[in-house]
């Protein structure tokens, strides 16, 4: 891998084969889409707080536009923000560096994967411009709404193809293809390209978790691809796969969707757990507690995640015996995750805690994810779920898991590895301000929703004005309060942008005095990462080891 040959602008900045650059492409694209998804959320939250308000750029919402915003907010945040940042961006940047490799196993495939992803994003935006507007059937795309919205059975194939719902299916399919190819790259790299001396348990937790997330994704996405193709055919070729009048079954789509949908949330969660498993030991100067068991529990939860999916369908009319089965498995899956959380909490005990920004975000994740995780156990019980399903209780639950994962853990990772990726340190003061703004805003938004949800506030309603029980004073106040919280989250992200623009402190190779191999390379690492491939002598969490005198950390590559 020559670092000296002349590269054209295109091959250096657009079609780069370097994993670090591709990781940055994924991360920046993901963050931009997160801004778009966030804008949609502010828009519909404004509508909820002040029905009929004129929203900047979008205008006054009607039911259809509201549904479009809600639908695309969910889709964008999951497929075009969380996955590129936490799976593709994180995996591509950290894995080769942490295992001492010079790049990913298939650099050209890596580059192709990014551009397929980019194309999927273009298609998503295109879906908003089709006649009838973007898809508006909720991110779960259930038929018959999603198979008939804006579809004219007597019109031609092309007319039905150029509709929001159809283009969206194509966009999602391309995104899946990109992540599948990227996933193959991640797994082959980790299995094959570990440097000399690096045994499996010397591989850092974040690499393990990204690999487990990849396995989860690759084995669960198949049925949804099949289901989405059949949905597209229902729209474009007027088939009846999901139409009961034609012998089809809408519940089939639900199963195909959620067989993927549930492992998907762990695809987002596991890398987040991986990130904080790196950050917390480094800033506690203590080994990750029970690392081997954290990995074993991670594997267990990945496997169990394949048999819990129908807890999303408790009220869809599924067989009650299956509801019983899925309740049990859903509550069981809380066990490995609880173990992991307890082990990470144990990592803090007796440590030399340094509350730098990455550590603050990681600690924030721990506190807030607990709320999300515990409320998940409530919802996992079919009896309770029958009451809470489709209410804001569910919305609060999943935001208490997804936002800690994507924002808090994701930002912890961003602040942690930014010095390695760019050579510059992000300001700690601004970082902490960013944290508090995000944390306060988030809890203002999400916590009250548990209560309005328990009162019966239904999801996906664009205007409650005609429903008197939902217009009581305190419920309306909650809606306002939550909207202000959402706005504070959005405003706080500006602090990060300012921080990135003004930060000029150079970071050395190892500003956090961490053990893992990526800190051996220069900041930022050149092509090929390491001047000579490092050799691995021990595990990644040897902090404050009494055998190592004079230093509270023991890098993996030092004898």
């Amino acid at each position: 891998m020559s670092a000296h040959h002349e590269q054209s602008f295109l091959s250096k900045y657009v079609f780069s084969l370097d994993h670090k650059y591709i990781a940055k492409q994924y991360t920046v694209t993901g963050m931009l889409f997160a801004l778009l998804g966030g804008f949609f959320a502010i828009a519909f939250r404004m509508q909820l707080a002040w029905p009929g308000i004129d929203i900047p750029i979008i205008g006054v919402l009607d039911g259809q536009k509201y549904n479009m915003l809600v639908t695309n907010h969910g889709l964008i945040m999951i497929f075009w923000a969380a996955m590129p940042i936490l799976l593709a961006g994180l995996g591509n940047f950290t894995i080769p560096l942490m295992i001492g490799a010079d790049d990913m196993a298939f650099p050209k495939l890596n580059m192709l994967s990014y551009w397929i992803f980019f194309l999927s994003g273009v298609l998503l935006i295109a879906s908003f411009m089709a006649p009838g507007g973007g898809a508006a059937g909720a991110w779960t795309m259930y038929p018959p709404l999603s198979s008939t919205q804006n579809v004219d059975p007597d019109a031609g194939i092309l007319v039905n193809l150029w509709t929001g719902g159809s283009i969206l299916i194509l966009a999602v399919a391309l995104e899946f293809a990109s992540m599948l190819l990227g996933g193959i790259n991640i797994l082959v790299t980790t299995i094959n390209m570990r440097t000399k001396g690096m045994k499996l348990m010397d591989v850092p937790a974040v690499v393990w978790m990204v690999c487990l997330a990849t396995v989860d994704f690759m084995f669960s996405v198949g049925p949804l691809i099949a289901g989405a193709v059949m949905l597209l055919f229902d729209r474009v070729f007027n088939t009846g796969f999901y139409d009961p009048a034609r012998g089809g079954d809408p519940i089939l789509f639900q199963h195909l969707f959620w067989f993927f949908g549930h492992p998907e949330v762990y695809v987002i969660l596991l890398p987040a757990i991986g990130i904080i498993s790196e950050v917390i030991p480094t800033f506690s100067r203590k080994p990750l507690f029970a690392f081997k068991w954290i990995v074993i529990m991670g594997v267990a939860s990945s496997l169990i995640s394949f048999v819990v999916w129908a807890h999303h369908q408790f009220v869809a009319g599924i067989d009650p015996r299956m509801a019983e089965f899925f309740s049990i498995t859903t509550i069981i899956i809380s066990i490995p995750f609880s173990f992991i959380i307890f082990a990470i909490i144990a990592t803090y005990f007796g440590g030399q805690i340094e509350m730098k920004t990455p550590m603050l975000f990681a600690t924030g994740f721990m506190v807030m994810f607990l709320v999300g995780g515990v409320t998940g156990i409530f919802l996992g019980s079919a009896g309770f779920d029958m009451f809470a399903h489709d209410s804001y209780f569910v919305v609060a639950h999943f935001h208490y898991t997804l936002i800690p994962a994507v924002f808090f853990a994701g930002l912890a990772g961003f602040y942690y590895w930014y010095p390695k990726a760019t050579g510059y340190l992000l300001g700690d003061g601004l970082g902490k301000l960013h944290f508090w703004g995000t944390a306060i805003g988030f809890n203002m938004f999400a916590f009250p929703l548990f209560f309005s949800g328990m009162t019966g506030e239904h999801r996906r309603i664009f205007d409650y004005s005609s429903y008197q029980p939902m217009m009581e004073g305190w419920i309306v106040q909650i809606r306002h309060f939550a909207t202000y919280g959402a706005m504070i989250i959005a405003a706080s992200q500006v602090i990060l942008i300012i921080n990135m623009l003004i930060s000029r402190d150079k970071a050395g190779k190892n500003p956090w005095k961490a053990n893992t191999l990526e800190w051996v390379a220069d900041s930022p690492p050149p092509h090929g990462n390491f001047a000579t491939p490092p050799v691995c002598y021990r595990g990644p969490y040897e902090y404050s080891n009494p055998k190592r005198s004079g230093s509270d950390f023991w890098p993996q590559n030092e004898q």
């Binding site: 196993a105 298939f106 059975p153 669960s220 996405v221 034609r246 012998g247 079954d249």
Partner: protein, 204 residues
Amino acid sequence: MSDVALERVPKGRLGVWLLIAGEVVIFGGFIASYILARMEYPEFGSKEAAGALNVWVGTLNTLILLVSNWTMVVAHEAALEKNLAKMKSYMTYTLILGLIFLGIKLGYEWPTDFHEGHTINSAKAIAGAEAGGEIMKISLFWSYYFLMTGFHGLHIVVGSLVIFFVMLGCSKGENLHRVELAGAYWHLVELVWVILFPMFYLIK
């Protein structure tokens, strides 16, 4: 210091196996949906549905695909022995057999079905058919049939292109490991057909 827990596999081969595993789950989604529908609707086995498929043509096609997989594996063994001439001829036989398979399917089977009035959404042509009735269920069968054999055919096209371009790239004896990878993808296409053939043609 060696790692016995995870033996390393040549990366191209490992990558293709992971791709195969992913594709099995994708086709598995289609197959599972069809099997569930089939178990619910015995009408799928009636004369106008699966009964209208020609078992003999289907068997012939299956045989052709089987032999093409054999020629591909022979080509791979030839590549391992660096026998370029034998490798190229057997890869060509594979392509020809794949083309014949597609030809029979798209040139005879599908047109015959269209001619008999079965298309991907036949019920559209049958106005006034009873909702949830037998005609609708038969139409659902044909929807599944064309969808799945169509996607399988698409994979034959893609697999053939892969074999063709690998053959071009290996003609001077370089990158011979790619022959195995192209072969693996071709075998995946066979694996899927091994399930599709009895599912549609034999289980009535």
